[in-house]
């Protein structure tokens, strides 16, 4: 009865609701894109325009700022280092972290709460001061100023994310699905690979994004632990204090571009993660 009554009165309200909904979507898209567009204008304008007032509404497609930035020695090496460290971090944090997420969601064992607390504690600790004693340890083991050494520290940062997110995702998959697979002749391992893994893969991808992003964004451990092999963020930070506006904006743009590509590359996994809802 109630449902019918609302349906009769609905058309006008529904139309208005639809308009509000669409304008909200457009507004939220603009909220994300407009600041990026401003950065684009600044990056594709000549250094003189970047430092002048008022700013143009469209980029003048002058590569002056970018050329200025690219001529900074060491830029490309820094970019390569950043990608290597982030990639290593992504792989290590998932390989090490996801099994623990599964254990947390499926088993009750002694010390579980202690383990969870350890995980959260890690994330709660400010990283750079963790990097300082590690710098000494790395010099002793020959890991100082290497991509792998920095990736280890970034993995420490990313692991709590990996564990917490996979825990949350595994918790959302009913144990009954696995139990059904066991009764149909699967072992624990095959039940996992054939039933749980396909359901969880998009979520794993999402958590891999976090690992990559954490490493890509990280500045201070990178600045502390590398000297010759600087990552892009550490390299930028080192030169930002003294740099003019156009170098800052070009640098910010270079930091953003790989992020755009990366999110674009995994968008279908995000969409697939979404697809779980329609099963």
């Amino acid at each position: 009865m109630t449902a019918e009554a609302t349906d009769v009165a609905a058309p006008d309200t529904r139309k208005a609701g639809r308009a509000v909904y669409i304008s909200a979507v457009v507004l939220l898209c603009a909220w994300v894109l407009v600041p990026l567009y401003f950065l684009l204008i600044n990056t594709l304008s000549s250094p003189d325009t970047v430092n002048s007032f008022p700013k143009p509404a469209f980029p003048e497609f002058d590569l002056g700022s970018l050329t200025f930035f690219a001529n900074f020695a060491g830029m490309l090496t820094a970019l390569k280092n950043s990608i290597l460290v982030a990639g290593l971090t992504m792989i290590m944090s998932i390989v090490v972290g996801a099994p623990a997420g599964y254990a947390l969601s499926r088993f009750d064992f002694r010390g579980k709460e202690l383990f969870r607390l350890l995980i959260l504690l890690t994330r709660a600790f400010p990283l750079p001061l963790l990097a300082l004693p590690l710098a000494v340890m790395f010099i002793q083991t020959g890991l100082d100023d290497t991509v792998f050494g920095l990736a280890l520290v970034h993995t420490t940062l990313a692991i709590p994310f990996a564990v917490l997110i996979t825990f949350s995702l595994f918790s959302g998959i009913p144990l009954e699905l696995e139990e059904a697979a066991w009764t149909l002749g699967c072992t624990r391992l095959t039940a996992f690979t054939k039933v749980v893994l396909p359901l969880i893969l998009p979520g794993i991808t999402a958590s891999a994004i976090f690992a990559f992003v954490i490493s890509w964004n990280e500045v201070f451990a990178a600045a502390v632990l590398t000297i010759e092999n600087r990552t892009l963020t550490a390299f930028l930070l080192q030169n930002l204090d003294t740099s003019p506006l156009h170098l800052k904006f070009a640098g910010g743009f270079i930091l953003v571009v790989p992020a755009l590509i990366f999110i674009f590359a995994v968008r279908k996994y995000l969409f697939a993660m979404w697809g779980i809802a329609n099963r």
Binding site: V25, L28, C29, L33, P35, L39, P54, K55, V95, V96, G97, P99, A100, A103, F107, F109, F115, I119, L120, A124, F125, P126, P128, L129, L130, L132, P133, L134, M137, L152, T155, T156, I159, L164, I165, F167, S168, L169, S171, G172, I173, P174, I209, V213, N217, V219, L236, L245, K248, G252, L255, V256, L260, I263, R267, L270, M273, W274, I276, A277
Partner: protein
């Protein structure tokens, strides 16, 4: 392998990793905080807390977190439910909304600097509309409110996507049958959101909030790019102690203070959004 030992085998790699790269350096830092060279002392903490800037620093950090996190939670929930109802163009919208996910805090600070700096886009637009005669220097000590607003906006702009993806993943795991059943019984969209989405989303909400709140206390690069020394925050002061004043004991003490606040808030969130045993979907 027996189910008794399996969980321990699964958590062993993480545990080993964290012992070596977290607990060990953590012990070293704690040692630094509680010593000035000769035995156990609280001098470092006394120095840090009695410094005239400390109350401002603490208030700034907490205020920023209090302003940013609730807005992000509401925004992420709104966006996640909107994406959930989308029929056309949802992958495009999802892509656009998750763009900030990949953007570093340093870059986000620079982006909002482009808007708020003296020759920036906010001033350009205001003068274009004839609202002002000459550009104002927003990011100066004369405009503490604008500095706070710029930092808060940059943080909201950058870090809402992290919560959004976790929540979208979580909503995706809620069986559609619950919503269909609710619709049969005539539940309004709002009621469905409050009675189905929110309770079943609890594990995801827990994760998203813990991550965001802790990160909010660690805010640094955005503040450095936009406010510099105008808006001192806990992490910024920690760096100043470590790298400018070369006082690693005081820096370690600051680190332990940030750690204490983070743990306290984490425990509160875990407690408030506890997932009852056997109540998962």
């Amino acid at each position: 392998m027996s189910a008794r030992f399996l969980p321990y085998v699964l958590i062993l790699p993480v545990t080993l990793f964290l012992c070596l790269f977290f607990l060990y350096p953590f012990v070293l830092v704690a040692q630094q905080a509680f010593s000035t060279g000769s035995g156990f002392t609280l001098d470092n903490f006394r120095d840090v807390v009695s410094y005239w800037k400390f109350p401002t620093t603490m208030t700034n950090t907490l205020l920023l977190a209090a302003a940013v996190v609730p807005v992000q939670l509401a925004l992420a929930l709104l966006m996640a439910t909107m994406v959930n109802q989308m029929k056309r163009g949802r992958d495009l919208i999802l892509y656009v909304w998750t763009i900030p996910l990949g953007i570093s805090d340093l870059a986000a600070g620079i982006i909002w600097l482009a808007i708020f700096e003296q020759s920036g886009f906010l001033n350009s637009m205001m003068s274009g509309l004839g609202l002002i005669e000459r550009p104002t220097n927003f990011l100066s000590y004369q405009n503490p409110g604008v500095v706070f607003l710029a930092i808060a906006l940059a943080e909201i702009w950058r870090a809402t996507a992290i919560m959004l993806v976790i929540l979208v993943a979580g909503i995706g795991l809620i069986p559609k049958e619950y919503y269909e059943a609710a619709e049969v019984f005539g539940a309004s969209p709002w009621k469905r959101f409050v009675r189905i989405t929110l309770p079943l989303l609890r594990p995801s909400l827990q994760t998203a909030l813990v991550l965001r709140v802790i990160l909010a206390f660690e805010v640094f690069a955005v503040v450095a790019a936009l406010g510099g020394t105008l808006f001192p925050v806990l992490m910024g002061e920690t760096y100043a102690y470590q790298f400018d004043l070369l006082n690693s004991g005081a820096a370690a003490a600051m680190a332990l203070i940030i750690l204490g606040i983070s743990i306290a808030f984490t425990l509160v969130i875990l407690r408030a959004l506890r997932v009852p045993k056997g109540a998962s979907i």
